[in-house]
Structures are given as C-alpha cells and as structure tokens.
Amino acid sequence: MRPFDYHRPDTAEAALNDASDGTAFIGGGTNLLDLMKLEVMTPDRLVDVNHLGLNRIEETDDGIEIGATVRNSDLADDARIRRRWPVLSRALLAGASPQLRNTATTAGNLLQRTRCPYFQDIDAACNKRDPGSGCAAVGGELRNHAVLGTSEHCIALHPSDMAVAMRALDAEVVIRGSGGSTRTTGLPDFYRLPGETPHIETTLEPGELITAIRLPAPPGDRQAYRKVRERASYAFALVSTAAVLRMENGKIASAALAFGGVGTQPWRDAEVDTLLRDERPSNALFDKAGEVLMRNAELREGLEFKKPLAQRVLKAVLTEVTR
C-alpha cells in the first residue's frame, strides 16, 4: 500500500472537510483495502466513516432509509427488510462470505469495483485503472466480464449482488456535499456507462459522501433473487437476476427486473419491464423478455454462455414469481 494519512472524524461535516483530492472514504474496506494492497487504488488519505452515525436503518413514510455504513449482514438480517424487501436480503446473503458481509457496508457495496483480472493487475493495460492505457481484457481471457453496456474501452463487469436487488427496488442514493448540501439520485443516474471514460464509474463528485440509501415502498410483493456461480458458495455471479413483481387478476401489474453478471453496471432494462406489464405470464412472454434483454449483448469469445444462461435464469425467476 502507498503510505496514507488516516483520519477518523465523528461527524459527516468533519469527514467532508477532511476530504481532498486523493482521499478515499473507508467504510468496511473489504474492497478498498484489497485494491490498495495491489496498488490498483492509491489514495493518500483515508477518512474512516464508521463513526459518523450512519449505521442506522430507519423507516420513512412508506419506505426505508439505510445508513451508508450499515453492514451487509445487518441489512440482510433487518426484520423490516426481510419482510418487505426480501429480495435485498436474498441478494446480500448470496454474496461474498459471512465474514465479508459482517464488514462490508451498504455504500461500499454500491461502489464495489470490478473483478476484471486485468484491472486488478497493475502490470496490465487498463483504461479504468490508468485512463488511456488501453484494455488488456479485450483479446484476453474473458469470463467475469460484461456483455451489456460495454464500450471498446472497457468491458468490466459490476460484481455486486446487493446493487442488483437495489436496482430492482428503485433505490435512491443520498449524497452529501462539502457545503452541507444533500442531493438524492436514483441508481440509473448514479451509475455511468464506461463509454470513453471507464475510470469514472458514478456521478459521485470528488468530496461527496454517500450517507444513505433510500428504498421506496417495494414496487411488488413477489420478489426473488437467483444467482448462478461456479461453486456453491463464495463466488461471484456468472449471472444473477432480481425480480420484484406485482400481480393483479392473473396479470403482471408491474415488473422490475435487474441483472447481475452481465452488465458494466447493475443492469436494468426498462423495455424488459414494459414488455411484461399488463401481460399474462407465459413461456412465450418470458422468452420474449429474454430476447429483449439480450438484444444488444456483445458476446465476445468466452462470454457466449452469458446470453442463454441469463435468459434461462430470467425465465425461471419469472416463472417462480408469477406462479
């Protein structure tokens, strides 16, 4: 690790005042320290945000607000989350290991960096790590890479499980700026596609701090998260699907589908949701949803399997939640 200053403020204001160029906020650190050891990330200051009182889960009007430093295990275990947003509990429990979930935070999980092996290898070219250096993944060995939302500059996959469920649940990120201002943004505006600037992954500005994630009332009571991986536990997703549906009179009244293991960000496609709405569940409908989801997929060598696998999982999940 590059040497850094370590600060442990006890208010959000102090934390923001502490932040300057080259500062990283550290919550759990399970991803940040991993990458700092490899010197993929090299902040010169760490501001510890674990003592800012951001570790509470509080009900709002009809939704819930989750503090930025709530641990993944505590979020999965929260009785309200288990009852009304079970897809989130399920996604969390499908990720990482109990030890990591006990440490990793909600905001940190949203900001999790890619597992692309070329990104993690400081000897390899990577536009995300070192803008303009090229992309060693293209033409290399592909497995845990994206097929949706890619650009010629970057095909890195967003690895989170939690964020996939958050995406289906229309989560909003509460962000505090240095002037004390607070803004809220939905995940569609929070995450950026790589395009020509894959090193800029979110719309979070330098010096801004995520203080909470807000979930509105769940858009559906039929929820499921399904993940396929290469071993039975403790592995990143080959593909995953989060589904939040509401049924009325045998028809799908609303559908929110989100996908992991396929996109450069936790993936959601409005056309998939729209296609399903007001329709009666059927195999033909679900097959169509899979076609729409993958219509723009870039199936590079080694990633061809992602299309049929994601489609099969989507169909199975839809079958399950519409039953």
Partner: protein
C-alpha cells in the same frame, strides 16, 4: 499511530503504521500467530477472528480502525487447558490436516453458532423469518467463507454438528 487492542482479554497498546492490517498487527506485532495469512485478500478465511462479537477477515481491515475493540483469536478459545467444545470436537473428528485453516475455521464456527442462535438467515435458509435450524446444508453454506485445501470438510462439519448440541 497509537492504537489499543484488547485481544483475548488482554489490553495491548501499539504504535502502528496505519497500513498495518489487523492480521499483521496480531501476527507480527503481538506475536499472536494463531490467526493465519492464507491470501491477504479476504478470499480464504484463514485470518478469521471475532471482533466485537462478529467474525471478520482480519486481513481486510486496518488495525487502526479497531482502536478500542475487543478481539478473540484462536488463542482465546480455550479456557486455560480446557478446550472449547468446538476445539475438542475438531480433534475427535479430525477436522484438520495441515492445520493452517484451522484457527479460522474455529473462530468462524464459534461465531457462526451464535449467529444461528440469534436467528440470522443464510443463503440456503428456506424462510427468512422464523427459527433457524442447523442442518448440514446450513452449516456448509455458513462455513463457506473458510477454505480448507486439505478438504477436511467432512470432519469439520461433523465436529460442528456435535459441538452445536453442547
């Protein structure tokens, strides 16, 4: 940086480079080498310790972030010469070969049994709400953050099953 760690009931005052991980503080600075470094990246679980009641990977956290924390490592599981039920069960069922993952398995299992008692669900739990039953499937899922390359999994699970009843 001045940091106070209470490990297995003993208070230690350390002056640390902020880069020192909790694991390296234990192993290299306090000479408590029971906690193991297998990967240094949270990918094997050999470094599992119990920090303020929760099992964590000591390699992926900084020692300075645990100022004032109460830690339990493998060296603190036994009561003097008397082994904990889990430690004894690991011997009875040969839940180890090379022994390098063993401290992590033991700390992890110790905390895991508490999590089950507290009603925490796992990936394989059928219903998120309600009483947790410690089936074999539940044990293996909940212990999957601890790799064992000797693959003593059968012995480890048998040991946990036995200790859970005590």
């Amino acid at each position: 940086m001045q940091t106070t760690l209470t490990v297995n009931g003993t208070r230690h005052q350390l002056d640390l480079d902020p880069r020192v991980t909790l694991l390296d503080a234990l192993r290299d600075h306090l000479c408590l080498t029971g906690s193991k470094k297998g990967c240094d990246h949270g990918q094997c679980g050999a470094c599992t310790v119990i920090a303020d009641g929760r099992r964590i990977n000591a390699c992926l956290t900084l020692a300075v972030m645990h100022d004032g924390a109460e830690l339990v490592t493998v060296e603190g599981l036994a009561d003097g010469e008397s082994l904990s039920p889990l430690q004894q069960a690991f011997l009875d069922h040969d839940g180890m070969q090379c022994g390098y993952c063993t401290p992590g398995q033991l700390c992890s299992a110790t905390a895991m049994l508490e999590e089950v008692r507290a009603g925490r669900a796992s990936h394989v739990t059928g219903e998120l709400e309600g009483e947790m039953r410690l089936t074999r499937e539940e044990i293996t899922e909940r212990m999957s953050g601890n790799l064992c390359r000797c693959a003593c999994y059968s012995g480890i699970v048998a040991a946990i099953e036995e200790a859970a009843t005590k």
